[in-house]
Structures are given as C-alpha cells and as structure tokens.
C-alpha cells in the first residue's frame, strides 16, 4: 500500500527517555555499595527492610502529600483506574502500615530503597528516575524520636564518607499556626505552603511568589459580584433562588442543584479577599526565614517574633529540646542551622522538618537528605487512630556525587577456554570446581583460539588463562600466567584445582 509503510522498514534506533539514565560499570557499583552501607547502618538501629509496589493509585499521593506533587507524577489511566508511578515512598509505607501493621507492636522501624519517578525538568543533579533510600519511625512522638531520625541521617552520611554537611532544621508547626491565625481558606493555605520553598530560594524569592499570586488571583481587589455585597444573606438567597428558578435549571446547572449554586454564591460573597491575607502570611514567613541562623542566635530572635505576633512558642520549644539532644549526641555545633520559615515540597509534615546539604567536588551544592514529622498521615490514609511518625529519605545518586565512594568493578581471576568441542565438558567441570575455591572464573564462549583467548584475558585484567584440551578420556590443562607469561601443564581437573589452591590462597596465607 502507498499510504503506510514506506518508511516503517527503517531500522530506527529506539532511544532512551529523557531524564532517565543507564548505569554502567563501574558507576553501577557504588550505588549498590551505598545502599549496602546505609542498610547496615539502619539495621544496627533496629530498622527492617520493606518493599512496596512501583505503582499505586494516584489518590494515595494526592491525599496528603499534596497538590504541588500532582504535576510531577507519572500518572495515567489504566483500564479506567487513575494510577501513577511512585514519586516517593512515605505515602506507600503509610498505606502498608495501615493495611498490614496496625496490630504490630509500636514503634515500627521500617526502611526501604528503590527507584522513584518524578516528571520534572531534568537538569544537573535532577533526574526523572532516581533512587531513594529512606526510613520511617512509626508510632513515636517527641524530640527523642526526631533526634533518632536526624542522627541516623548523619550516621548514614558518615558511612559514605560525606563530610562538611549542613543540616537545616525547621518546624512546619509555626507556619501552620500562622495560617490558622490569619484564617486562610483551603486554597490560600495551599498557595502559601506550596510557595515557602520558592520564597527561600535566592533565585526566586518574594518577587517570584508575587508574580504567581497575581497569576492565580487576577481579580484581587475587585469583587466579581459587587452588586450583592452588603445585601442581607436571606434576601440575597431569595433573589438568587428566583433568578435560577427561571432558568431551565436542569440544563443550565448540569450536575448541581439550585440550592448548591446559591450556597456557593453566598459563600463567595461572605469570603474576604484572600490576597491581603496571603501577602501577610508570606511576609511573616519571610520574616521568619530572615531570622534563620545558628541555633544560639536563631532561637531567641524567633521567640521574640512569635511573641510579637501572638503565635505559639511550642514549635520553638520542641526544636530547642531537639537541638539539645543532638548536641549531647556529639553533633558538631556548626553543622546545625535553624530556619523556622522553611518549607518542604511535601505537605504531610506536621512538626519538625529538616534538609541536609553538602557540596560536590565541583562546588555545586546538593540536597542529600530530607525528612520530618508527619503525625496526621497515618490517620489520613485510613488508620484506626492518630499515629505519630517521622522519617527521612536520601537521594542516592546525589549522595554519591558528594561521597568518597569510588566505583570498582569486581575482577575476574581466570578465563577458561576449551580446545574444541571435546574439551567443553572438561572446561565446564573445571570452572565449577575453581569457583568453589572462591575464584571468579569466566568461560570462553566465542570459540577463540588459545592465542586470542590469552590476549582477551590480559585485556580484561585476568590473572590466568586456562586452556582445556582432551583426547578421548584424557584431559589436560595449560595454564598461562598473564603477568609473568609463565606456562604450566597439569593433567586433569583435580591437579588444576590443587595448583590454583597453591597459587591463590597460598599467596595470601
């Protein structure tokens, strides 16, 4: 047919998705090594490994982790269900706890690692698929549990040789109090929480947030229905009911009832313009951010500010206790930085929050770890009771960029090659026996000659090249030392194993 197919027979290369990486040796090894060292560190504190599915219902992440995450999900409809690839683990582990562990003794210490996917603009240190290693301490409130999380993070960093890291410590409780105090509506709260991070970024700041505000609240200042303002609500209700009654209601209202729409209009009229309140909240948050600094300076300054605005001192007290414990545990004084106005991209936090930063060799700063307390999440996911919890997650790839861990491929000791078909069984048998000695043995499978086998073994850095040759029942092995070039002949696999034992373990003993 003309219409289709003339170009379909091209052998077009299928390319890798943007923002996703292949990991080759030796770079593939430090990733595994980092996970192993972190696992050792957290298992020493009683954390147990769990695994959760790569896909979940989208609602799991939207329910509490928040609006800001929605655009970054790999979400799709599959057979009519809204599902997505996990952008993080905490919501999944929370679901797992609610489903399977509510009757288990508390606290539950759980850890996980694996890939997560976020649809973001890829850049330096930000990939669409990356690896998280994290843990959750479920069923414990208070500063000691918070301290355990942060100290575990530090221990993990040290296990990977990350030095000169900085911990930024905050408490979302102050911001939540602020929003409560200003009586912000649901959407305005989301806006403020979602923009705390932008507010603190030197490249964005207040100007950026103001632009977003103008974009999202374009009609600020001018009431959309000024006529009804000031009208008694009963009076207004009657007018609106009559007005809507005259329309062909079914068609003009779609799925909503007349009462519902009237209620909506009245609520809208009663609601104050949120923009001045949002501005106030942002200004206060910025004021809090400006007070950030070493604990000894930040705490007294913040206490004064909270007093001035009649906000609770409790979040500050919790942080002070936490810092006291952390110092007692030997955390270096200058590693800690307190910032009461900072926010994380995820909305489920209720108390202490933190992020840990370090520089890589090229002078770029990476956020290596983040976490905090989320006492409402378990209940929001359907838990029987409110269950306090806190946790952390590392980004492994970023961690490696700042660690001393070097990739090293495991070496292969021996290449064993058969001299033609009659020697294949002997080569296989010998390689099995040599592996039993703890040696790494590669089988020559391309039918190379003795000469090219030796060249290949030398190039791959293998110490010995063994050639199996058989005549009838009689099998022998020629051993060539890649380093010295010395050759030796042994008869039978028993002798080969004996020779290797003498020349490998023997060396070490």
């Amino acid at each position: 047919m003309l219409v289709s197919g003339s170009f379909n027979d091209r052998n077009k290369r299928v390319e890798r998705l943007r923002g996703m990486d292949d990991v080759l040796p030796p770079a593939s090894y430090p990733l595994r090594e980092a996970a192993a060292r972190l696992s050792d560190a957290v298992e020493g504190r009683g954390y147990r490994l769990v695994d959760v599915p790569l896909f979940e219902y989208t609602e799991l992440f939207l329910r509490k982790a928040g609006e800001a995450l929605a655009p970054r999900l790999y979400a799709f409809s599959h057979h009519g269900r809204d599902i997505c690839a996990r952008p993080e683990f905490t919501a999944s582990v929370g679901r797992l706890y609610v489903e399977q562990l509510q009757d288990a003794p508390l606290p539950q210490r759980l850890y996980y690692h694996g890939p997560v996917l976020r649809y973001e603009k890829p850049g330096r240190g930000r990939r669409r698929q990356f690896t998280q290693f994290g843990l959750e301490l479920i069923g414990a409130a208070g500063p000691l549990a918070d301290a355990e999380i942060i100290l575990t993070a530090c221990e993990g960093l040290e296990a990977l040789g990350v030095r000169d890291y900085r911990i930024v410590l905050g408490h979302i409780g102050t911001t939540l109090d602020l929003l409560e105090h200003l009586k912000l509506d649901r959407r305005a709260r989301s806006f403020v929480l979602g923009n705390l991070e932008n507010l603190g970024r030197p490249d964005r700041g207040m100007a950026y947030v103001e632009r977003r505000l103008a974009e999202l609240y374009p009609s600020q200042g001018q009431s959309t229905t000024p006529v009804a303002a000031g009208v008694q609500s009963e009076e207004a209700r009657e007018v609106l009911m009559a007005l809507l009654g005259r329309l062909n209601a079914d068609m003009a209202l779609g799925s909503r009832s007349v009462e519902e729409v009237v209620e909506g209009v009245l609520n809208q009229l009663a609601r104050p313009d949120p923009v001045p309140l949002i501005r106030r909240a942002l200004e206060l948050a910025q004021e809090l951010q400006r007070l950030s600094g070493p604990p000894d300076e930040a705490f007294p300054a913040a206490a004064g500010l909270l007093e001035k605005y009649h906000l609770r001192q409790e979040p500050l007290h919790e942080l002070e206790q936490l810092v006291h414990i952390l110092r007692g545990a030997g955390l270096p004084k200058d590693a800690l930085h307190v910032d009461l106005g900072f926010g994380r991209g995820l909305y489920y936090y209720t108390g202490m929050i933190f992020e840990i930063y370090a520089d890589d060799g090229d002078g770029t700063t990476h956020q290596l770890c983040g976490g905090g307390r989320y006492d409402d999440l378990i209940a929001a996911l359907g838990g029987r009771r409110r269950t306090p919890a806190c946790g952390l997650a590392f980004g492994l790839e970023r961690l490696l960029a700042c660690s001393e861990l070097e990739g090293e491929e495991p070496g292969v000791d021996i290449l064993i090659s058969p001299e033609g078909a009659p020697a294949m069984a002997a080569a296989l048998d010998a390689s099995r026996r040599l592996r039993a000695l703890g040696l790494a043995v590669e089988l020559e499978v391309r039918g190379r000659s003795a000469h090219t086998s030796r060249a290949y073994a030398a190039r791959r850095g293998m110490r010995w090249c063994v050639r199996a040759h058989c005549e009838g029942e009689e099998c022998g092995f020629q051993i060539v030392d890649s380093v010295s070039g010395l050759e030796e002949h042994v008869a039978g696999s028993e002798e080969l194993v004996g020779w290797m034992r003498r020349h490998t373990r023997g060396d070490a003993e």
């Binding site: 003309l2 219409v3 289709s4 197919g5 003339s6 170009f7 379909n8 027979d9 091209r10 077009k12 390319e15 998705l17 943007r18 939207l62 609006e67 929605a70 655009p71 409809s77 809204d82 509506d185 649901r186 959407r187 989301s190 806006f191 979602g194 974009e215 999202l216 609240y217 374009p218 009609s219 959309t224 609106l240 007005l243 809507l244 329309l247 062909n248 209601a249 079914d250 068609m251 003009a252 209202l253 779609g254 799925s255 909503r256 007349v258 729409v261 909506g264 209009v265 609520n267 809208q268």
Partner: protein, 342 residues
C-alpha cells in the same frame, strides 16, 4: 513498489474531511502550491510545483501521528492537535505555527447557571471543596494533556479527566462530566448547550500549522529541499498578503523632480523608494511617467489620495502574490533546527 519511491518522493499529509480540508486547499492554491487531486475518492495526489511531492490525505490527528513517527515528512494540521500530542524528545518540528486560517480556541466551559464560577480561581475553590467532600471534579475533553497542564499551572490539582470522543458539549447535561474543555471558533455550540466560558479559561489559540519530522529531514536532502521551497513561497505569500502593487500615471517629464515630490510624501514612497518608468508617444518622446510602488494594503485610500494630489488620473492597484526577501526566516529557523549553518 515502495523501494524506488523512497529515494524520490517526499510525503506531505493534508487534512481530509473536517473543517481544515477546504481552507487548506484554498490556502495552498493562493500560495501557488495547488494540489491536483485527479479523483475525489483517492487518498493521494500531486503538487505540480514540486513533482517529487506525494500528497496524502489524512485526519488531522493522524497527520500529527504520521509525521511524529516518520511515516510522512511534512504535514499541515491543526496546532491544537500538535500541542496536545507533543512531548519532549519528539521528532516534531513546527515549521510554521500560524498559517492564518482554521483559527479556534481551546476553552474551559461550565454550565451557565453556575453563578459562583466565573474564573479559574472560582473553579479552584470548587475543586478543593468537592475533593474534601469526596467528589472529584470531572472534566470532559479530547485534550487531556493540554487541559491537565493548564489546570496544574493554575494551581487546580483535584480533578479527574474524562476522555470523550464526540459531543463533549453535552457532557454536563447528560451528567458524565461537570464541565468541559473543548475547541470553539465562535462559541455558538457552547451557548446552545447552555455553557459559559470561564473569563480566564482560554487554554490555547490554534490555527492550521505546518509540521515536519526532524529525523527524516536530517537524513533526506530531498525532503529538506521541498520543505524549504514550501516555506519560501508560504512566507513570501504571507508577507505579500498585506501589500498592494500600485501603478500611477503622472503628467510629468522630469523623473528627478517627481522623485523629490514623491519622497516628500511617505505614503507613496514605496517599500524602498519609487521606481519610475517613462511613457513614450509615437515619436519616441516621453509624454508621462508611471510610478510603481508597493504599499501596505490598509494604507490604500491615502495612497490614492496622494497620487491624485500629484496630478495622477489613472491609478492601477493589483494584489502582491509574493514578496521574497533575502532568505525566508522560517527557512533559517529550519536550518538551525536541523543543525545546519544558515
């Protein structure tokens, strides 16, 4: 039968059926690129201006897919289809985004009785309120990607998209969605269905556009030749569209004096200056001069007035089919996109 064609023919897909078909034919005709369809029931045709072009007729959505997948090198389709289907890493090149016809908007519309929902902000409030009540807002659309991205950009996160094929406007009345996002040119269909557009709910403006497959162009010099040729004439035609060629006879025998008078009147000076041609009588004597200028179309009345003031009695105006500059901007863009020096 495919093998020999592959080396010679360049495939161009044009919309068949639907609202873009007739305007596309007319547009190409105006640009001097008529398509000869020997049989109205056939799905292939030729373009005499470029004999190597093989014209295929497809639905607009299929045209996008065929260009993206490299089955076809070039295509004209609706920008809405391209914007909806595009994703990063695609081989789609947008050669000309606005061809000047097939204009329409992708808009959000709610039932007109929703007195409390007039803006995206109102919709955002409603979405949150309903989400908290366990009732997700359902939006019916054929454009899930554009609608999702738009709502996210406007901080509306709690909604479910209902992908529907036909009669989207009826969805709120039937009840399978609460509101819709659909294409509209005049808003008539929306009004007939008792829907109103949100004040700030225009997601996208779309016109017919010309697209190409980058990888195919990179490996097929013939396709690049065709693409550049088509871009040249379309751009020259679009540039010419706003201008008129004016010939005015003036009773004067002194070109230098006339030039000075013309230069004193900016409206009749032309794009770079007037060209002046003498008119001779039977004895070879100059009896008058013809001024030849290209002027903006919407300036025509003033131009005629000025020529009259200069003493002209006959002013002849004709359309400008093409204005070719040094090099078409779209051709430069294409070369940059293909990684070739301009």
């Amino acid at each position: 039968m495919n093998a020999p064609e592959r080396t010679t023919s360049v495939r161009l897909a044009l919309p068949s059926k639907g609202q873009l078909e007739a305007p596309t034919f007319a547009f190409l005709e105006r640009c001097g690129l008529p398509v000869s369809k020997t049989n109205p029931r056939q799905y292939v045709a030729r373009m005499p201006a470029f004999p190597e072009v093989e014209v295929l007729f497809q639905r607009p959505a299929d045209i996008f897919a065929k260009v993206r997948d490299g089955d076809v090198a070039l295509g004209i389709t609706g920008y809405d289809v391209v914007a909806e289907g595009q994703s990063d890493g695609d081989d789609i090149l947008l050669l000309l985004e606005r061809l000047g016809y097939g204009g329409c908007d992708l808009v959000l519309a709610v039932p007109e009785g929703w007195l409390d929902v007039n803006t995206i902000g109102d919709l955002a409030d409603l979405a949150l309120e309903w989400w908290d009540a366990g009732r997700p807002l359902r939006v019916a659309t054929k454009y899930p990607n554009l609608v999702r991205d738009f709502l996210y950009r406007k901080d509306v996160h709690h909604f479910t998209l209902v992908e529907a094929a036909g009669a989207i406007e009826a969805a709120p009345a039937i009840g399978y969605a609460h509101l819709i996002a659909d294409i509209t040119a005049t808003g008539t269909t929306l009004r007939e269905n008792r829907l109103k557009q949100l004040e700030d709910g225009t997601i996208l403006h779309s016109e017919a556009c010309l697209i190409a497959n980058r990888a195919l162009l990179q490996q097929d010099a013939g396709a690049v030749h065709v693409a550049e040729g088509i871009l040249e004439v379309i751009e020259a035609h679009q540039r010419g569209r706003g201008f008129r060629l004016v010939l005015a006879n003036i009773d004067s025998k002194d070109p230098a004096a006339l030039t000075r008078r013309l230069h004193a009147r900016p409206a009749v000076r032309g794009l770079r200056g007037p060209s002046i041609i003498p008119i001779y009588d039977a004895d070879g004597e100059v009896v008058a001069l013809t001024v030849n200028v290209v002027v903006p179309q919407n300036n025509l009345a003033e131009v005629v007035r000025e020529f009259r003031a200069l003493g002209s009695t006959d002013v002849i105006v004709s359309p400008v089919d093409y204005i070719f500059g040094g090099a078409a901007e779209a051709v430069e863009r294409l070369r940059r996109a293909l990684g070739k020096a301009g």
